[in-house]
Symmetry: none
Subunit: 224 residues, 2 copies
DNA sequence: GGAGAAAGTCAAAATTTGGTCAAGAATAAA
DNA sequence: TTTATTCTTGACCAAATTTTGACTTTCTCC
């Protein structure tokens, strides 16, 4: 599944450019141009946050501390400031890294990669989802019904991972597509229907019960 | 127990100053003024390495890659270079962070702290991995099936080491390439396929069982 | 009940991926 | 140097997955 990156910067032009660039590299990106917007978009549970340190209204450092109360993920500061004290402050406020503007896109990508990789190594614990007797091991990418292992293809598992990690929430097909494929569906998103069908068939065959519910006109929901 | 820090820099004055300073902050410090010395001092298993990137005789990046074959710990580059490509190279070579000279001591301390904190959860892989009757001695780089020693080339062993040290986890080819070669595969990473084939053949011939499993669309996994 | 939209089904086409092989390039050994 | 070994590349095939599109069913609202 594609990594989700949240960009917070008050310059819409910058966020837009970055979004496009990162999307081209396979990330799912959402952008916020204000602190309030940023906090609202935390619900999407980004895997990494790029945070401008000079924002009107609320200081980036403050925002960082607030974010830290909600979510654990690498936070990279984007900044023009360069004093040593600022760097120290940033790291102490809970930031993980510091990138000074103007920065090169390659460097940015490399740092993002490094942090995501590192984060993946360190934060592993809640990697098993259980659901009505079904065991979904996210790190091993295995699904069990009792002793029996069920086999799913990559896309199928990605969809299961996404839905079962957010149980009882309804996601429309576009949202699922975005989460799993990492970018927007162009035109038809009927692929989802087919994958959902396959998943349902396998789960039903093994367990005899429905896990994915259709909310008509809205999308799909993982029943828990 | 105090954290051990290894400083590698060809400037004895610098290493000495840094040593004193870090020791004042409670760290156990050893210093090396050459690559050879640095490699020798790896036996002390430092928890973190400060590595000068401009060293005569051996390039810092090269040294970093070599170190990465021996030990897993945060590596922070000290450098005067500033080009973006250098930064990228450093991160790709297995470095964890980048500090440009001249740097502030406070910033250095903050970064060291941050990295050690983050690395704390990282449990070090054992020196010997056993797996279904197979014995993999990581420090001797030897593999046994019962009394019989199996011979693997460097790359083959590197791959075995990486996968078997992280059993049951799936790694895609890029990730394996990065871990074993120390940098990203440019373009095609089909080398992996070939090495995996060789490894499988040797293991199968000796033991008659499969150790490396293919997870279609995802990568390979060491079965344990 | 019927029109229209949304979801489900199915099979075939298109694409991706992994396994295999042979041969050339690079590296280490003699 | 020559020789042997290892590493890498590219082509090919087979298998598995993904996507597509036509078609059917179901649901909602009038």
């Amino acid at each position: 599944m594609a990594y989700r990156i949240l960009i917070v910067d008050d310059e819409p032009i910058l966020t837009e450019l970055l979004s496009t660039h990162l999307q081209d590299h396979g990330y799912t990106v959402s952008a916020a141009n204000s602190s309030a917007e940023a906090l609202a978009k935390l619900t999407a549970k980004p895997n990494l946050i790029l945070l401008d340190i000079n924002m009107p209204g609320m200081d980036g450092l403050e925002l960082c501390k607030v974010i830290r109360n909600h979510i654990v993920c690498p936070i990279l500061f984007l900044t023009a400031r360069i004093t040593e004290q600022d760097k120290v402050n940033g790291l102490r406020a809970g930031g993980d890294d510091y990138i000074t503007k103007p920065f090169g896109l390659q460097e940015l990508l490399a740092r993002i990669e490094a942090h995501l990789r590192r984060d993946e190594r360190n934060n592993r614990p809640p990697e098993v989802v259980t659901s009505q007797g079904l065991i979904i091991n996210l790190s091993d990418r295995k699904v069990f019904w009792n002793e029996q292992e069920l086999s799913f293809s990559k896309r199928e598992f990605d969809i299961i991972e996404f839905l079962s990690s957010n149980p009882n929430q309804v996601f429309d097909k576009e949202r699922i597509y975005e989460a799993v494929w990492g970018y927007d569906a162009e035109g038809d998103s009927s692929v989802i229907k087919e994958h959902i069908r396959k998943i349902r068939a396998k789960l039903m065959q093994a367990s005899g019960s429905e896990y994915i519910e259709t909310v008509w006109g809205m999308g799909y929901r993982w029943k828990k």
